[in-house]
Assembly symmetry: C2
Homo-oligomer: 171 residues x 2
């Protein structure tokens, strides 16, 4: 069975980004270690992930570990992942429990033209020598490649007056 | 003159990610239009960008425009860019006004192994037919490629108790 069957109202791109000439190249810098080994059990967003009470780990590959120096100054880290199991050609999607189809850019679905996942997690501990970050939670499958880490900086990332009208249907 | 001269305490990767075999491929889906045409005038972060009072525009390419349906539900949008002018091999960096060198993952510098920029901006207006998003501000050069848009969702992205010890030196 296809993990991403097409639902009513969904639309695909004429040219699949997965088959197009690359405009840029990604290198994997590490991996997620999480309790989630199937899409069915994996939390659908970071709120649901936190509610499980299950932690997670990021392991950064050896060459990139010096890049972790100073990250412990941040209480929270933005993890960017490469969601390589997802189709890239679903431009309009219908989330399972939603009534209407929506554009991919209005969703946090893993299926997107460039399958970059964005996860904000609390940094519980950092071991630079082994490249290990312990996080409070993650909404990503075990083994998911990591492509970047950034500090969450309140003055630029914390938008106190932000509103999203349909958070329920966002993934 | 090299835009990114090496400063004291900086370290480079033995293997430059720009020259490595790709683990994943990026396609550009649009462009930033901003008032900033040189690195000297470009705001160093989103707070500084907002303080200029200058708006910005994202133009999404035609095939991807159906993906914008529903994004107007979000007051703020996360723009992911590809910072293609930046070197990718600077793993420890010394920001211009910082006293100490820091790991790239503790910084929001555009020079990183995978040059993905993350910008949270207020969405002022959305025209799906022309693929045009008007934003309150952006800290990116005119012409910067866009690789993804996501809604900013308060329940997962707004971390009220986040702390960053040295925000001043973050870029």
């Amino acid at each position: 069975m296809n993990m991403f069957e097409k639902r009513d109202g969904e639309r695909t791109l004429a040219d699949d980004p997965a088959a197009m000439a690359a405009d840029g190249s990604i290198v994997f810098i590490g991996r997620i270690h999480s309790p989630w080994s199937s899409r069915e059990t994996c939390p659908k967003n970071m709120r649901a992930a936190r509610e499980t009470g299950e932690g997670a780990t990021v392991e950064i590959d050896e060459p990139y570990r010096p890049g972790l120096e100073g990250l412990a100054n941040a209480s929270h880290v933005i993890v960017l992942t490469w969601l390589h199991h997802s189709p890239r050609n679903l431009i309009v999607q219908k989330p399972r429990h939603a009534t209407d189809a929506k554009g991919v850019f209005a969703l946090r679905s893993p299926a997107r033209p460039n399958p970059v996942g964005l996860h904000v997690a609390r940094l519980l501990s950092l071991d630079i020598e082994t490249g290990t970050l312990k996080l409070d939670a993650i909404d990503a499958l075990d083994g998911t490649p990591v492509i970047d880490l950034k500090p969450y900086i309140p003055t630029v990332d914390l938008i106190t007056d932000a509103v999203f009208a349909s958070g329920k249907d966002a993934k």
